[in-house]
Point group: C3
Chain length 350, copies 3
């Protein structure tokens, strides 16, 4: 970004105290502020940094009264924390939605239907009969197959690949290298030991406000649809197999894999490197700890599980605590065996 302090104050409906013409280039923390930074002071624990920071401007509460002289410009607002959040959001939108227009060369099928205010990066490809909504941002080297629909205000970063027949909602963000709609992994064993691909003829449906991380893969359904419901957030390098459904507002961390036909509920929290077997049903609000391996249905809502195979998390940690002392437990058992033998001998001698 490149703004004056005055321009930022205007955006935040605040007033400037000090140098209003200073140039702002980026946001930072008050304790690390450099010339050109804008930062904020809300928690007074950080007040001492206000008097030493090199930042060009600091957003503060209107009610705040400095105890010493301040070298930086102040922007006075009703609530510094909220104003800073607003600034971040505006800056983010600006960064991501500023691009507009069609770069050349790029490829749009003559039968594609294109909305308004698009950015279409160089070397991107839009196939036959695909429909692109208003204000969509398609970065360079993106591939969009045939009969794909993409809702308005969705961003596809560089190198995203969307197979034919995929449907993507509005306000989605799909990060670089993600693959949506590749063939599900289904092979029928043949009499001679070889495998024959089961044709994968379904598609992927991604609803509104879904975020998908870099290099994540979502396979199409064998028949019907693999569905990612509204508000789901997927991190990087995740595997979503054919015919999976992920419920509303579920959040999944990096490198997790979900096998074919599994249904995941709403508002689940799934940590990184989790594996979930196929044809399972996971209840709403399930929490799954990192590296867990889920091998059966989770039927009750709001349960936390851990382990590989995964089970109730508190029991899992109790067993693990004893696992760490297994050598001691074994020694105790051997001790008992020895003592019991002596006692028996002793006893039979009496």
């Amino acid at each position: 970004m490149e703004f004056t302090v005055q321009q930022v104050a205007h955006l935040l409906k605040g007033e400037v105290q000090g140098e209003a013409n200073g140039k702002i280039y980026k946001v930072g923390k008050i304790q690390e502020g450099e010339a050109g930074d804008i930062t904020f002071l809300s928690n007074l624990k950080y007040e001492p940094y206000l008097y030493t920071t090199q930042a060009t401007a600091v957003i503060v509460n209107r009610s705040f009264v400095p105890k010493k002289e301040v070298a930086t410009a102040l922007i006075l607002v009703d609530d510094a924390y909220t104003a800073f959040s607003t600034l971040l959001d505006e800056y983010y939108k600006m960064l991501n939605f500023q691009k507009i227009g069609i770069e050349h060369p790029s490829f749009q099928s003559q039968t594609a239907v294109l909305g308004k205010d698009l950015y279409i990066g160089a070397f991107s490809y839009i196939g036959n009969q695909s429909e692109i909504g208003d204000n969509v941002k398609i970065y360079p080297n993106v591939y969009i197959g045939d009969k794909v629909s993409i809702g308005s205000n969705t961003i596809l970063y560089s190198g995203v690949k969307i197979y034919s027949n995929t449907q993507i909602g509005k306000f989605c963000t799909i990060h670089a290298g993600a693959v949506i709609g590749s063939a599900g992994f289904g092979f029928a064993p043949q009499a001679d030991g070889t495998f024959k691909a089961v044709p994968q003829l379904g598609n992927v449906i991604i609803e509104d406000r879904v975020d998908i991380g870099a290099n994540t893969v979502i396979d199409c359904a064998t028949m019907g649809s693999t569905v990612i419901e509204e508000g789901v957030k997927l991190d990087n390098l995740i595997q979503v197999a054919h015919n999976v459904r992920i419920g509303k507002n579920t959040v999944i961390a990096a490198q997790t894999g979900i096998s074919g036909s599994t249904q995941i509920g709403e508002n689940c929290m799934i940590a990184g490197q989790v594996g979930i077997a196929g044809h399972l049903s996971i209840a709403n609000r399930t929490s799954i700890a990192a590296q867990s391996g889920v091998m059966k249905n989770i039927e009750n809502e709001g349960v936390s599980i851990q382990g590989s195979p995964a089970w109730e998390i508190k029991s899992s940690f109790k067993s693990f605590a004893i696992y760490k002392q297994l050598p001691e437990l074994k020694r105790k058992v051997e001790d008992l065996e020895r003592k019991l033998k002596e006692l028996e001998k002793d006893h039979s001698n009496k």
Copy 2:
């Protein structure tokens, strides 16, 4: 697709009963059939759906006699299940091999040798002295380096990257974003604590009828070749390190990783998120359960293993069952200690 019922019947060598001009757009299940769908009835458990389905056509056995009136068109064939499979296969081939011709702009080295009936998507790249067989489909944004050979009827989906010197067989399918031939991960420690890359000068050989999933990576050999034998099926996001060999018809699920120089036998079934250490040899027909970590050779054929580290699966599940009861086992041991102490005390008092 877009066919009439009559056209499909012709393809399947069947006869139409009912409306032969209905339009078919996709395949579906009988219980979910919508207008424009074609489906089938083989298992009579599903017969009730025949009388209620909205599908435009249903494939049935010639011997089948409906018990009620049927609104949908019927296609009568000798074996409905086989005919439906044939339809899926034909549809799949049509979907994947229908594209033909060279889109522009795309890049083909003047020294590349190109077969017949190719599809070469826009923004794809074919390097020097590479040879592309007949009927190969190269989707947009594919990169093929120098001296690569690709056998006939192979499909490379969008964004596949093939490093120089790679050899790929016939009838292979490589999904979007897969990388074949990247440098093996070999670094020699130096006296000053830094690492020096060991030059990776070998290549990758992929034999016929191999399927490779989206964003999977196969590294080239340090010297010689990393080899994926005929009929191997690899899912998405798999790591295959330098100098690995994977035997015929082995199937590997998503996110599994195989370390350098390991040799995997034929007809193995390896589940998802498995890790296999380097320089190992895994016998034919080994089954490895999900999330297992294989740390030593598997010498006997047909063994199933599980766990991290992995061992014989039945033993592994027996130990895990007791692991879940460890707190109880510990209590029992403490109980025994207490009782034994009392008994000893009691005993010595006598």
Copy 3:
């Protein structure tokens, strides 16, 4: 490559014995040597192969005296092993840095600053105000956003995506499909159960001599920088989350994931499929075994850990050894219970 034996000898400051005009196309092992290969003999265990190899030339120590007639050309040098290493390095450099010039079509912003001796592949993209150092190799389909800087002698293989504001040092190698600078995975829960993206406004800094594997992902910082220090080597399909710092010369194997804000020390060795939780600090020279799950700080340098959750590796293996015998341990405890009961009964009868 394509050299005569004489040319290779000249490069290695050696002398030819035998046919100096033989053509060399590739390097190989002495036991697998084919016509057109060059190989070496250092360990005399392999001497018998010298008399049977089909290789065109073999590099040997000047002091070496063959016991039989040799059909292949010999190149006499002071130290055959070192000379062969030198040859590999030179060959590798040649392979990777031979490309030069700009292929078309490709996209360079008019505000981009380009160094000398570049290779810029077709369909690659260089955004606004980005700076590319001398001798950088940008393969086809690479995306470089705005305000990116790339140091001299760095190689970006096909399909690498670099988000805006990223800084990359000199002599780095980034393999195909890697993504640098994607948004960190940060979402603030809202009252209605949905999640709002936390704007990710920082960047990624990659220092000199870093290697990054194929399809690996490094997220940008929320504020500030995700930092990969000098000499770090990352394998394929690794996840590095926002605000992580990886210390000098640390080596990380494939499919490992590092959660947000974790700091990893220098000279660590981290095996494959490891998961490291967020906000942790890992001491210098820590070794982490494959598939481990690190859930707390590692404070002492040079420690080896294993397991999920991870702990000291020797203790971990001791517990695992007993875990494998848990059914036996359980039987022993039940045995003890039975015997003790008998003894008690017996005792009370007396």
